[in-house]
């Protein structure tokens, strides 16, 4: 079987901008000459529920969803959602996660506690684990709202897509007024390793 395929899972909470990040990633991969497919679920999950977006690129892609246990990179926008999706990764896969906790309803209502020490437990299973303070770096870049772009920059270092195509994808997908800040945020993510 030809295995020239890169499998990426983007996970987080509905409303975090995961779909836009996966669009930028797909666009960059297509511009770099790869076949690309992506898949996600709209609807119910947008009301603050868990969101999983699948992006696959390579010479030829069939399934739009990443086969279970074959994920190369888990790109987490929130810590608990990152932990929830670990089983989608292949052994030895990479995890790039935003250092952010968003409490689910049961925690907000005081019925459960947000699990502690998640990052350490992820690290114990996956040695290539990068925890990024997306909000903080984005604030330095000029706007806390560019946190997703910082994370995208960090993920990009692990992908065989040349930098110029990332820049072109950003230019296409990000509104002109926010482009400079997002380009800066992307570079900060790329340099943060």
């Amino acid at each position: 079987m030809s295995r020239q395929i890169t499998n990426i899972l983007l996970v987080g909470v509905g409303g975090q901008g995961i779909l836009l990040a996966s669009e930028i990633l797909s666009e960059a991969a297509m511009l770099a000459g790869f076949d690309v497919k992506k898949s996600e679920i709209h609807g119910m999950s947008q009301r603050g529920g868990s969101v999983v977006s699948h992006v696959r690129y390579g010479t030829e892609i069939n399934s739009p969803i990443v086969p279970e246990g074959e994920g190369d990179i888990l790109f987490g926008f929130e810590l608990m959602e990152t932990a929830r999706s670990l089983s989608l990764l292949k052994p030895g896969g990479s995890v790039v996660a935003n250092d952010l906790q968003i409490s689910p309803p049961s925690v907000l209502m005081g019925q459960e506690l947000y699990p502690e020490g998640l990052a350490a437990r992820i690290k114990a299973q996956f040695s290539d684990f990068l925890l990024v303070d997306g909000q903080k770096l984005a604030t330095t870049a000029g706007n806390a709202k560019a946190a997703n772009t910082v994370l995208l920059g960090a993920v990009s270092k692990r992908l065989n897509i040349p930098e110029e195509f990332w820049m072109k994808a950003l230019e296409k997908m990000v509104p002109a007024r926010a482009l400079e800040i997002n380009k800066r945020a992307f570079q900060m993510g790329r340099e943060f390793q």
């Binding site: 076949d35 279970e68 929830r84 459960e112």
Partner: protein, 586 residues
Amino acid sequence: MKTILSGNEAIARGAYEAGCLVACAYPGTPSTEILQNTLQYKEINSSWAPNEKVALEVAIGASFGGGRALCTMKHVGVNVAADPLFTLAYTGVRGGLVLVAADDPEMHSSQNEQDSRNYARFAKVPMLEPSDSQECKEFTRLAFELSEQYDAPVMLRSSTRISHGKSVVELGERVTGLPVPKLEKNPAKLVMLPGNARVRHPLVEQKLVDLSKAAATMPINRLELRDKTIGIITAGICYQYVREVLPNASTLKLGMVHPLPHDLIREFAAKVDTLYVIEELDPFIEDQVKAMGIPAIGKEIISLCGELTPGRLRAAFKLPQPSESSVEKLPGRPPNMCPGCPHRGVFYTLNQLKAYVTGDIGCYTLGFMPPLSAMDTCVCMGASIGMATGVTKVVSDEEKKKVVAVIGDSTFLHTGLNGLMDMVYNNAPATVIILDNSITAMTGRQDNPASGFTLMDDPTHAINIPLLCKALGVKNIRVINPLDLEETRRVIAEEMERPEPSVIITNKPCVLIKRDDVFQKGPVYAVDAYKCTGCRACLKIGCPAIEWLPAGDGSKKGKANIDPLLCTGCDVCRQLCKFDAIGSVK
């Protein structure tokens, strides 16, 4: 030119390239974005209809007028549109007519996972099933051509993974030179009275025979011979999973799933040692293959329930699974109503009043979730009112008072109206609450006949819902502010007591409406930690902006906190606080 499109975007593009003039739909996940994308092509008149039946009837009219027409809906929408669909099969078309049914295996956002392919067979219409975005576009174009060639409506079946999956698409140009629509009378074909219909029915049967023969040489039905020990008949998204998991197997990839190309199936079956049929949900292809006397394996190894995935297909063929990483038990993250959602206070009140709530389909179905826990039934669009009437026919007079139907504005106009007519006509003593948030919210804020705008964003008449209820004969109509808990409780309690039909209409818009003059965010609220006693009363509305901060000493004590970034200043939590600990931050 190459671009990345979702299946829904590609279907819209295909309709554009096919010279489609009219697109009509009622929104429904996962089909909604098709019409939101035909919108970008000014050559296509795109519109929301109040329900799927009307949407299809509009498309039928456009076709009878001589133009190409697209109609889209989710799988359960076809139930609503089934009445015109079955007779449309008899009349056939003038301009090509394509009906898209988007299935939702796994029920990511649906109340059942019915398999629309059965409708194609039941209604006797051809059906195509694409397996990626490029095919979505090509098959849509082809569907219009086949529709005119065979004088039949053509269904295009999508599914969540096709509609919401994205892949690379090569764009084409819009066809030109199609006949200009003009009126043309042809009652023998278009007036389906018994005498005419008896003439038309044999033609319908003959078309399916002709299509089945022609299907053997259609390029969309593709025989791919590889290792001949395993042969797999498959279609749609399942084809992609088969190629992923069993790349060496021979495949018969069907682009047309009704009628089936019998000759091609026999040819393929004769060439392979063991024949499998891999399909999600019902054994639609499998049953027909077996009825042809061809042995095949299908539902013996593939579930009737849920969607297929590469991992599930691997398991079906007993292939090794990659070792799974251990995942600890984590708190769940179910969807929730937005902060400031005007539905929240109504469900809190219904819970307090111990109402028996017959529910309906929309964001407000989330009123079922704890802590609101105030929905007792949910069946289909518009069902809440009829169910409320039915419940009152069998329970005691005391229990009748507990019965409250809850329905949104868009769902009320979709199919709730008829239920209300019946409630008034037969004098059922139930209460109906119409949660009018001025938008079709759940599917992503689409306009509807009461919102004042069309899909193309033109201002239009907004139905006055209280007046409409009055015209239906409802004597007790109350309009309330659902963010005022005292008023909400008083009015609902009064109307529940009343031994005749009554309608309560809430009047606050969805917090996500994009027109800036509709929803106004108020000053945000904060908790005064000195006054907060940790009584948890404000937590009972389940607002995502309110968080419980444990004291941290291992006790159950703690205090509430409001996230200023999420709070919209709706004021509902303040009304629940007996200690005056919540106030606005000016």
